[in-house]
């Protein structure tokens, strides 16, 4: 298996509003994929499509080579931790593990118990009495002990305090290394993803803006600062991601595979956060989208 998720012109419409449109991506296996974008960009929609909770309105999606959510076998291969990590308030931690054991053929009971013990969760505690961080850990345990090939997490740390957030991501990272599973997780905060993701998808305005391995993305994006200049006068190989102008000065974020030789520019590398913010800078993206589509 070389890809965990492929989508072709995938779209989902609610009434007249497209929550996701023309999404074409191909995520290779073995990555921890960060899906980042502002609130309401369509992250949850994409993840729900991938786990089979939603049916696409347009296009196709395949997860691990199969149609999402259709059969118990497919469901067994994909784990999903929903936003705000819901759990049955009336059931104890132990009963959640029993639920997992009953409903999943590949359930790893030893691993689940060991994880719960290591996290210091009391098996007799009702889930409704757990803290947000503990509940998130319980949900993650359920997702991991199912032994999926792909684990999807929708904003798992959004409501956690910084310490719980770090512990959660730490646990996720360890499990990923241990069990060789692919992970897709979404967040609207790049700082959450920076340390653990090696693949990034930026989703803005219900469209995929950029997707790729973080190393390559960072190598291919540059910030150019120099005397004011029109975007038309940039070399053909340089795609403008965002542009800022003052009276005298222009600042561009460009994507290019070729080195930049123009001595007029001061070239700086971007951090992952800068890169994502550049794509979220909507007006520039909108200006540039039209010509890009013509080129295709």
């Amino acid at each position: 298996m070389t890809t965990v998720l492929t989508a072709q012109a995938l779209g989902k419409r609610y009434g007249r509003r497209w929550a996701l449109r023309e999404c074409t991506i191909d995520i290779p296996a073995g990555h921890v994929v960060g899906l980042v974008g502002p609130n309401g960009a369509g992250k949850t929609t994409l993840l729900k499509l991938a786990s089979g909770q939603l049916e696409p309105t347009a296009g196709d999606i395949a997860v691990l080579g199969g149609r999402p959510g259709g059969t118990p076998a497919q469901l067994a291969r994909v784990g999903f931790v929903a936003q705000d990590t819901p759990a049955y308030a009336g059931l104890t931690v132990a009963e959640h593990l029993r639920l997992g054991a009953r409903l999943n053929p590949r359930w790893d009971d030893g691993m689940a118990r060991e994880r719960v013990a290591r996290l210091g969760l009391d098996p007799a505690q009702r889930a409704g009495k757990l803290s947000g961080g503990q509940r998130a850990q319980l949900a993650l345990t359920l997702g991991l002990a199912k032994r999926p090939e792909l684990l999807i997490l929708d904003e798992p740390v959004a409501s956690l305090d910084p310490l719980a957030r770090r512990e959660f991501l730490q646990g996720l990272m360890e499990a990923t290394a241990e069990h060789e599973l692919s992970v897709v997780l979404s967040s609207h905060l790049v700082s959450d993803l920076e340390r653990i993701c090696d693949y990034l998808i930026v989703l803005v305005d219900s469209r995929v803006q950029v997707a790729g391995e973080t190393d390559r993305l960072l190598a291919a994006h540059h910030r150019l600062t120099g005397p004011r200049r029109d975007p038309d006068r940039l070399p053909a190989g340089q795609h403008v991601v965002s542009a800022r102008h003052t009276d005298r000065q222009s600042t561009y974020v460009v994507r290019t595979d070729a080195p930049i030789h123009d001595p007029a520019w001061t070239v700086t590398r971007l951090s992952l956060e800068d890169l994502v913010l550049a794509y979220m800078d909507k007006p520039a993206a909108a200006d540039r989208r039209a010509p890009l589509e013509v080129q295709r």
Binding site: L75, P86, L99, L103
Partner: protein, 347 residues
């Protein structure tokens, strides 16, 4: 999945079991006592030939538990729809736990099938047990109940035999369906109650009388169907008839009218109907007449009759089966809707 469904239902099921246990604790001893009173009293009254008096006495003695048991059986299905049906799915949607359970290795269709099937079965079993227990308990009273409380009368009919099973299944499925559409527990409960009450009223008022075409026929006036005679000051003569029919004790009378010799309706039961051609100064209907049975014979001779439309008592079980069947079909329809909905709409 059955384990999870049972785990979620456990509290409510134990509660219901306790209530049913209490009901049994009341019904079993009083029921045996009631049966003993009935057989003893009946033997005595057949010798003494005043069984009407005995029936009235027996019914008076047990009237309050009789009515209370009917109420329990009528309310139980509504409670099941409200507290088991409506929250079944909405509780998951409100807490987002559906997202947890739908991402275990089990399809939603299967999840819904187990939840509906298992919970529904227990619900129907609970309501059925209560219905049959009350049917057993009130057996002697149903043999002797006065007009208005007989086996075929709408309220009593709904609380006897197998109909409560159908009501419970329907109420449960209705609650689940409304819950799926409304997606919030409290509005779903309110809506379920309103819809269920509407159906439960429409059934005896509009549908049940026509499940089997009712019988219409004319009866001579007599002791059983005449409520009273009246002589007005101007010498005219009135007859008031009842909703009972001679020779068909326990029938469900849908309409009872007094018709004149040409077949025209002159009064419905409970109203006075003017009889022409009866002498109020002499003859059988005069106040001075000796036998009280002579006057109806006189009115009959003139051609006045009671015209009644009714469902005879023998149709109790056919009507029970048909009505339960209708509720089973409604339940199946709603269940189908639930499955359609979970496949296409919910997320």
């Amino acid at each position: 999945m059955i384990w999870l469904t049972w785990r979620q239902l456990r509290g409510a099921a134990v509660m219901t079991a306790i209530l049913l246990g209490l009901l049994a604790a009341v019904l079993v001893p009083t029921g045996s006592q009631l049966a003993a009173d009935y057989t003893g009293g009946l033997a005595a009254c057949i010798r003494g030939d005043d069984c009407v008096g005995f029936y009235d006495q027996l019914f008076d003695d047990y009237e309050i538990p009789f009515l209370a048991s009917i109420l329990v059986v009528l309310i139980l299905p509504a409670m099941i729809g409200l507290f088991w049906g409506a929250p079944l799915i909405t509780r998951e949607l409100e807490a987002d736990t559906h997202l947890l359970v739908w991402n275990q290795s089990i399809t939603r269709t299967r999840w819904l099938a187990v939840k509906l099937g298992f919970t529904g079965l227990i619900a129907v079993a609970a309501a059925g047990t209560a219905g049959l227990a009350v049917t057993w308990w009130s057996g002697p009273l149903d043999q002797s109940a006065p007009e208005g409380f007989a086996l075929m009368d709408p309220l009593v009919f709904s609380a006897r035999g197998i109909a409560p099973l159908g009501y419970a299944a329907f109420a449960f499925a209705l609650g689940v369906t409304v819950g799926m559409l409304v997606r919030r527990t409290l509005p779903a409960m309110a809506l379920t109650l309103v819809a269920f009450a509407a159906v439960q009223l429409a059934m005896p008022l509009l549908v049940r009388p026509h499940l089997i075409p009712p019988v219409t026929s004319a009866f001579e006036l007599g002791r059983e169907n005449v409520d009273g005679f009246g002589i007005n000051r101007d010498g005219t003569f009135d007859v008031r008839i009842k909703a009972a029919i001679p020779g068909h004790t326990g029938a469900w009378v849908l309409s009872s009218e007094l018709v004149d010799p040409s077949g025209r309706t002159i009064a419905v039961s409970g109203q006075d109907g003017r009889i022409t051609g009866v002498s109020t100064t002499s003859g059988a209907c005069a106040p001075a007449a000796g036998s009280p049975d002579g006057c109806p014979a006189e009115v009959n001779r003139l051609g006045y009759r009671q015209k009644a439309t009714y469902q005879p008592l023998e149709r109790f079980w056919p009507l029970q089966w048909i009505e339960t069947g209708i509720y089973a079909l409604l339940t199946a329809g709603l269940t189908g809707l639930c499955f359609r909905w979970i496949r296409r709409r919910l997320s």
